[in-house]
């Protein structure tokens, strides 16, 4: 019996050793949690080396693989690690509101504007755009294939009672979907309308499984189209569809005056990198199945003041 107990203690000690080894291993490789600006300075000398920038963003930038591309390039250039939390626009902004992230990359202008107006965000930049597409099953029960108008398509889906899967998660895509229903003058509801409270990938999977329509960002749809039995029924503006389906992404730093722990300088470096010719190049050249998913729009010789302020804001109006 005594032997057994010793063995058991041995196992416990082993587990503790493993725990500590895991702990040390982590400190060694990501170097976060030290809080200070000392970094580990692998001879690079710069103070920010080894610090961590927390980005909250949407599932579309992560699920398409774009985020890994740009973040890897940023990490190479600045020696700073990026912790990207993919949440959906509403949640990403909410996390930033409580001061738990340093920078946000999102795609719902109305929600971004609220964020700016409440003082949580500063230095917004237009980053890139793609577009939304209405996707549905091949047999197209509502008969919307090739329609030129998103509102007409939504109206028809509602009239025929064809199953529609909604993100239902306060994301950028969900916000856009609700805006289209409103523009169509239809209150969605009833058995045919399913709010599933999930990310874009889950929503496409579920729409595919149940032969339903949904609104998807083109990027995520292209990256997943081999796995789902869905096709584009109404094109977005990139392929000549209605402007209503445009999907612009913005990037905003968290206001360091509201949250003093926000790593504002790193956030601005990140924004600077993404909106630089180099960062925009990476976005331009990012392809899935040889298709470009995102179109950079940060570089422009002509001034574009509206990207810095809530839409329609002017200094006259506010004074």
């Amino acid at each position: 019996m005594a032997i057994h107990r010793r063995k058991f203690l041995g196992a416990t000690a082993g587990a503790v050793a493993a725990t500590m080894a895991g702990c040390m291993g982590n400190d060694g490789e990501n170097g976060d949690g030290n809080g200070g600006g000392d970094g580990d300075g692998d001879g690079a000398g710069a103070e920010i080396v080894g610090e961590t920038l927390t980005l909250t963003t949407t599932t579309s930038t992560y699920d398409t693989g774009l985020l890994d591309e740009v973040n890897a390039a940023f990490e190479d250039r600045y020696g700073v690690a990026v912790d990207a939390v993919a949440q959906g626009t509403g949640a990403a902004l909410e996390t930033a509101r409580s001061g738990d992230s340093d920078v946000v990359m999102v795609h719902a202008r109305s929600l971004e504007d609220e964020f700016l107006e409440e003082g949580y965000g500063v230095n917004r930049r237009d980053l890139m755009f793609n577009d939304f597409v209405v996707v549905g099953p091949e047999d197209d029960p509502a008969g919307i294939d090739g329609m030129e108008s998103a509102t007409e398509a939504f109206q028809t889906i509602a009239d025929t009672g064809s199953t529609f899967v909604s993100r239902g998660d306060n994301s950028g895509t969900h916000t856009k979907e609700l805006a289209i229903w409103e523009a169509a003058g239809t209150e969605p509801g009833g058995n045919w309308y399913r709010e599933i409270g999930a990310g874009m990938g889950d929503t496409l999977n579920q729409a595919s499984e149940s032969g339903a329509y949904t609104l998807a960002d083109r990027g995520t749809f292209i990256s997943m189209q081999d796995d789902v039995d869905l096709g584009i029924r109404v094109q977005g503006p990139i392929e000549g569809g209605p402007e209503l389906l445009a999907n612009p992404y913005g990037v905003i730093a968290v206001n360091p005056a509201v949250h003093s722990n926000a790593k504002y300088d790193l956030a601005m470096s990140y924004i600077g990198f993404l909106t630089s010719p180099e960062g925009q190049d990476i976005i331009e050249n990012f392809t899935v199945d040889d298709k470009q998913l995102f179109f950079p729009e940060a570089l422009s010789e002509d001034p574009n003041f509206q990207q810095y302020v809530p839409e329609g804001w002017s200094s006259d109006g506010s004074e």
Partner: protein, 263 residues
């Protein structure tokens, strides 16, 4: 073929555990598990290995801390009589079924920058995940240990007293008598911790660096991401790894604890 290798691992782990940290074992393990399936695997091995490491680190640390906390509590509650004892026991038993998402939400609010622990900057870290899994595992380990401790016959304790034992001696004798139940308690706690997804997803943020190194992504949250992206094969492989790990840990603990002979 996978099974055969994994099984012999169990047998040789005993001596290996005390000497070498088992990070090596982990890479070995992930190699064994992923190699035959590597054909379909879209990731570098680093991705899978680091996810397994995060899963094990978080769950083992949480269960270790929880065990250190739970056993004294179980002994205390089991050995003493005090007013409201039944309420305490009821609370512990209720805690066993506490929904993990609620725990995640509460821990998130605690560690968020706005919360009471905000200044520690724990949100989206492994430490926050350990906290939430500690909260989840503790009622399970306390509850099951308590049942084991209270079921030890009083005669055993009386005998220990009669032989001139101190309270500590009596406690040790009781633990020894209840050891199978306590091992079961720890395993149940570990099972609860490593297989839950609700709280680690909320407080950990499911972060993977651009080079594929997991920071706060565990096996469970990784399975969710893969399923979301429609990569069901990868999700199944990760699921198989998770089940294999739980089996392996159970095997190790049962083997070392000697409970196998008790049957």
């Amino acid at each position: 073929m996978c099974d055969g290798v994994a099984f012999s691992e169990v047998a040789m782990i005993g001596p290996a555990l005390s000497s070498q940290p088992f990070v090596e074992l982990l890479s070995l393990l992930s190699g064994i598990v992923s190699e035959p399936l590597l054909v379909e695997f879209p990731f570098e091995r680093n991705y899978v290995t680091s996810i397994i490491r995060v899963s094990l680190y978080v769950s083992l640390a949480a269960v270790a801390a929880s065990t250190l906390f739970s056993l004294p509590v179980a002994m205390l509650v089991g050995f003493t009589d005090f007013p409201g004892k039944r309420v305490v026991v009821a609370v512990i038993n209720t805690g066993m079924g506490f929904p993990s998402v609620v725990v995640g939400l509460v821990v998130l609010f605690a560690v968020s920058n706005q919360g009471p622990l905000g200044s520690l900057e724990l949100v989206f870290t492994k430490e926050a995940m350990i906290m939430s899994q500690f909260v989840l595992a503790t009622p399970v380990i306390t509850g099951v240990s308590l049942a084991a401790v209270t079921s030890v016959e009083e005669g055993v304790q009386d005998a220990a007293y009669a032989m001139g034992g101190t309270r500590l001696d009596v406690a040790l004798v009781t633990i020894k008598e209840a050891r199978y139940g306590i091992v079961t308690a720890v395993l149940a706690g570990l099972g609860r911790a490593i297989s839950e997804i609700g709280s680690v997803l909320i407080v950990g943020g499911n972060i993977v660096r651009a080079d594929g190194t997991s920071i706060t992504r565990t096996l469970t949250t990784a399975i969710r991401v893969e399923a979301r992206q429609g990569r069901y094969e990868t999700a199944f492989v990760l699921g198989a790894i998770l089940v294999a790990l739980v089996l392996l840990i159970n095997g190790i603990v049962l083997h070392l604890g000697g409970t196998g002979r008790g049957r």
